[in-house]
Symmetry: C2
DNA sequence: CTAACATAGATAGTGAAGGTATCCAATGAT
DNA sequence: ATCATTGGATACCTTCACTATCTATGTTAG
């Protein structure tokens, strides 16, 4: 298919597709001549993935590029891909300064007996958030955090279960990305709804 | 204290503080004269909160303004405040178009027997994410989503527990905001670490 | 009292991010 | 042969979150 058809099928303007090509998010089409290139189903699929990561999850173009790079590089090695994908995303900008809470995180990981890479950015994200909360007068200690971590553990089991039994390695890789990254807004939405429900429950019990 | 001292104590540049005042994120100080105003501990506290919401959680200035507005308006009514706070945040931009997955969300909420407002933005966020996943070939049905929702339920219980036993209504309101909003990056970080751990566990079991 | 400096508030400018729009030469369809 | 379409290059635009400058007024040290 031509670029115009790719645009029509995906709903993404031609100018934007060109932009993604320039930025290296979308691989170039098969060159037919100096001014013609052909795109296929893979491109359409990739384009939809890009829109989901940027539009739904709110990732930046550069983060998306890293993620997609990991996807093509580690197709077939889901474990490695997962590591790369998890590492590529930063929820907070990294301040890169040593925050004292890193020790708390280390202690928590040890207590949980988790096998997590020493340099995992998630550690820094967690430490930074804890530091911020402490500054604001809400110090969360390990004791408080532990049950949250146990629930995260069970969430991760559900996540990994979803990846079982997929034979096509490309599909497995893509699904790993989608489930780890794109599911985040959904999980946060579930938590918000659950909070509203729980709040209503307690409010009704206590007062009128 | 003067603005310069507020700046020094918070680490936020004077120009930025003026910007937050203009944008209505920070209440004006007590006017001493035409060109002098005094700020107090409350302002410092508020300023730190603003930086955390914008810097750590990555909220936009306008979302932060809504949130802080809800905070001053509903101090003392934690249940109402929570509703406002949960509603003010949108993880995804709202497409506002009726996506078929809204029915699935409705069914899920019914099955869970949750008391969630019909117009809660979290419903739309969830529906939109599900729609996106379906388009990408990963249709998550209610059956798959249910265990995630159950875990969210238990997370919400932990969240609400944190708010128990705080007597000062302003402090309770602020903490509600912090725990619902600022804890999100921390929970996602925990999930990422748990995934890495779970992936390592299964990888080790299966292969070498 | 006065000179030097600080401050509040208004207005304008900056830089990054994420697109959009315009050109143009080379096709491909009619 | 003609004429709209395409790919590629380049320039432009808009939003966001600040940041800098300017001015009139205050404060303070000598």
């Amino acid at each position: 298919m031509r670029m115009s058809e790719l645009s029509r099928l995906s709903g993404v303007p031609v100018a934007t597709i060109k932009y993604y090509l320039r930025e290296g998010l979308l691989p170039a089409g098969r060159q037919l001549s100096a001014t013609q290139a052909e795109y296929d189903e893979q491109h359409l699929r990739r384009l939809r993935l890009i829109r989901a990561l940027i539009g739904v999850r709110g990732l930046s173009v550069s983060t998306t590029r890293e993620l997609l790079g990991a996807l093509s590089e580690y197709t077939g090695d889901t474990h490695r891909l997962l590591g790369l994908a998890l590492g590529a995303i930063r929820l907070t900008e990294d301040t890169e300064q040593d925050v004292p809470e890193l020790a708390d995180v280390e202690a928590l990981v040890t207590e949980l007996d988790w096998n997590v890479h020493k340099a995992a950015p998630a550690r820094a994200t967690l430490a930074e958030t804890l530091a911020s909360l402490r500054t604001l007068g809400v110090p969360l200690d390990r004791h408080t955090l532990l049950p949250y971590a146990r629930l995260a553990e069970r969430t991760a089991v559900l996540d990994l279960d979803q990846l079982q039994g997929i034979e096509d390695p490309l599909e497995a890789a893509e699904r790993a990305l989608l489930l780890t990254v794109l599911l985040e807004p959904a999980l946060m939405a579930l938590r918000r709804m659950a909070q509203e429900n729980e709040s209503a429950r307690r409010h009704a019990e206590a007062g009128d």
